[in-house]
């Protein structure tokens, strides 16, 4: 990326400026001709230039200079450099160039701001050049230097700039970059102007302006309003991620109570969430939590649940399947206290997976839920056993998920059978409807497995023969026909098996 001087006549085609032109070209040429590759180090082959000026001054000094050019940071070189090797009256040159740069600056300010890209680069380039020349001028007037008319070689300029690093102008690399950009002018005249300006701009930016967003790509901005609308469709973990993206999203996630009115905690948060963390999340609902679903949250305690109920009187649905630290007594007591506090109370409760539910508990719960007059379960839609059942237990409109198993009379989750042969049975005895201890079921389709063929999975679930065959027939699993198939299949299965794998 270089500047193309040929298409942008920066140098005025003014006879009095010819010397200027030639001096600069030579100045650049000194460095440029040395550049044989794209290396930004401008010291490729200084010897070439040195040979040209050998006749004009002491060649011993040149050779010394040559060495020094490879190590630019050297004070001695300044004393060795010839003041005006070409007899050009360099003081006039400096004045001319300074004036020219000032003109360019003035012009830049008048440019239309819309063309910020190119113009900005233009201005930056000018500013860069200005910097270089000002440094050189400053160098010229330094005490100890011979005088304006004497230290005028372009190399002096270059070194003057380098010396400037030590003056603490606060622009080391950027400035160096600018010089490089300038020096690379002649190298690839066919380069894209914009690219080169961008390069100069980019490099000059570092020394002349505070860091800005990349001028090349789109500026990053505040999130689109549509994103805020979509927050409500994210799960809890994704909401917590979104919180970290930017301030707008953070504020939306933390302060919009609508996002937190229905909280569902599933894997992988289930085993990580504690009472306190849950309270923090629920706090965002600002007291208007309506439904809470905790699937296999093994760290939530009865006390934690109590605190939740105390602070959220509008809670209507509570689902805590597989929360092993919760006890039936605890739930019953909590719901009693909740009702006594004047809240309308929970209307839908899911406690499937909780052990030790006695009839007394069951009756009390039914009372608390206000469902003692509710219709019989056969009026509800049928519930089929499926490995993801723990997550879906809030779907139907029953007040409580457990009921008395028709076969063993225990209070458990009772399932219907989707098998055609089991449909349409009229008598209760023939009805294929019981808990999974009484009637084993396929974990995939929920069909009863009685004497039919079945396979036992690695997780001790049962698969009926047709589901098993379906899994085996899956194309990517054709090669895996050995004993380990069961394990690998379930590792590859979708999230519905995830719960069992983690259990």
């Amino acid at each position: 990326m270089t500047l193309n001087f040929s298409s942008r006549p920066i140098f005025p085609a003014n006879p009095s400026e010819d010397n200027l032109l030639s001096s600069l070209r030579i100045a650049n040429g000194y460095v440029v001709e040395g550049i044989s590759d794209k290396n930004s180090n401008g010291f490729g082959k200084p010897r070439h230039f040195n040979w040209e000026i050998e006749d004009s001054y002491d060649c011993r000094r040149d050779r010394a200079d040559r060495e020094c050019y490879h190590e630019p940071i050297s004070n001695d070189i300044l004393d060795i450099l010839p003041s005006d090797p070409f007899g050009m009256d360099i003081s006039a040159t400096f004045t001319a160039i300074t004036g020219w740069i000032e003109d360019m600056e003035a012009d830049s300010e008048n440019y239309v701001r819309d063309e910020a890209g190119a113009m900005k680069g233009d201005y930056q380039f000018v500013a860069g050049l200005n910097f270089i020349w000002n440094s050189a001028l400053r160098f010229q007037t330094e005490p100890g230097s011979i005088g304006i008319g004497e230290r005028s070689s372009p190399v002096g300029v270059f070194h003057g700039w380098v010396k400037d690093n030590e003056f603490g102008d606060g622009s080391c690399d950027g400035g160096f970059g600018s010089v490089t950009a300038v020096c690379n002018v002649e190298e690839t005249p066919s380069s894209n102007d914009d690219d080169s300006y961008a390069a100069a701009c980019h490099q000059s930016n570092e020394c002349h302006e505070a860091a800005e967003d990349c001028p090349h790509g789109e500026e990053a901005e505040a999130p689109h309003e549509g994103l805020l609308l979509s927050l409500g469709y994210l799960g809890v973990q994704d909401l917590l991620s979104a919180e970290r993206v930017c301030r707008t999203l953070c504020s939306a996630v933390q302060n919009d109570s609508l996002l937190w009115m229905n909280i569902h905690i599933d894997q992988p948060l289930s085993e990580r969430i504690t009472d306190d963390a849950l309270m923090l999340l629920i706090g965002r609902a600002q007291g208007s939590l309506q439904s809470l679903s905790l699937v296999e949250c093994s760290r939530i305690t009865d006390d934690g649940l109590k605190r939740i109920l105390e602070t959220n009187p509008r809670l209507k649905k509570l689902s805590v399947p597989g929360c092993t630290r919760l006890s039936v007594e605890g739930i019953v007591n909590n719901l009693k206290a909740f009702k006594l506090s004047g809240a309308p109370g929970i209307k839908h409760l899911r406690i499937g997976g909780l052990y030790g539910v006695t009839n007394e508990h069951y009756e009390e719960l039914k009372l608390l839920l206000g469902s003692e007059n509710c219709q019989q379960s056969k009026d509800h839609k049928p519930r089929y056993f499926h490995c993801g059942h723990l997550s879906l237990s809030c779907d139907d409109d029953r007040a409580i998920d457990i009921e008395m198993c028709p076969r063993c009379q225990n209070l458990r989750l009772v399932y219907d059978c989707p098998a055609e042969s089991c449909q349409g049975q009229q008598t209760a005895a023939q009805l294929c409807r019981a808990c999974t201890l009484c009637i084993a079921r396929c974990v995939q389709c929920g069909r009863c497995i009685n004497d039919g063929e079945y396979e036992e999975t690695f997780c001790l679930d049962l698969l009926c023969s047709s589901c098993w065959k379906q899994l085996l027939n899956c194309p990517e699993r054709q090669e895996e026909k050995d004993v380990t198939t069961k394990n690998t299949i379930f590792h590859q299965e979708t999230a519905r098996y995830h719960i069992h794998l983690d259990g």
Binding site: L227, S241, V245, C246, R272
Partner: protein, 167 residues
């Protein structure tokens, strides 16, 4: 463009004008998919004129009209005959329809919100949510071109507050 006026039957055609002055002629029953427009139309204010929609640009409006047309037709079919086969058809249409670039998607969401077309809003928001799901914070910023305007301290504080939720 002329408009059938004075015809109060269900084949009445209404004109919608987008923010960039594109005009769309749409059947009334399709327009009624939008609760917002239903309110406007039923008040009889616009039955003879153009309904201007300064919040919606032509490109987005055309997509929304297409969606509403398709859903109106599907609903008519369901009412007339067995709907089971059609629900797969409409699901396929929906997934195809919403498979657009993020910018268009966000435009559709805003328009569906303004026009109050619940199904389309759900469809669009769910798609964006799916795009965000399980992405890292930096990926979300890149995908939606969002600037990180937190100070390092703020960022650290939030990360620590939610540390329990992440690996």
């Amino acid at each position: 463009m002329s408009m059938i006026s004075g015809d109060k039957s269900s084949t009445e055609i209404l004109s919608l004008k987008s923010s960039d002055n594109e005009i769309f002629e749409v059947k009334k029953e399709v327009v009624l998919e939008s609760i917002t427009l239903r309110g406007m139309v039923e008040e009889d204010e616009f039955s003879d004129t153009l309904i201007p929609l300064p919040n919606v640009e032509g490109k987005i409006l055309s997509k929304i009209i297409h969606y509403c047309q398709k859903h109106t037709e599907a609903r008519a079919k369901v009412n007339g005959s067995e709907g089971a086969a059609d629900s797969k058809e409409i699901k396929d249409f929906d997934s195809e329809f919403i498979n657009v670039d993020d910018k268009t998607l966000l435009g559709i969401i805003l328009a569906a919100n303004y026009l109050n077309i619940k199904d389309l809003l759900d469809l669009g928001c769910q798609k964006i949510a799916d795009n965000i799901k399980e992405k890292s914070v930096e990926d979300v910023r890149k995908t939606f071109n969002i600037k990180n305007d937190f100070t390092p301290e703020e960022e650290k504080a939030i990360r620590e507050e939610n540390l329990w939720a992440f690996d």
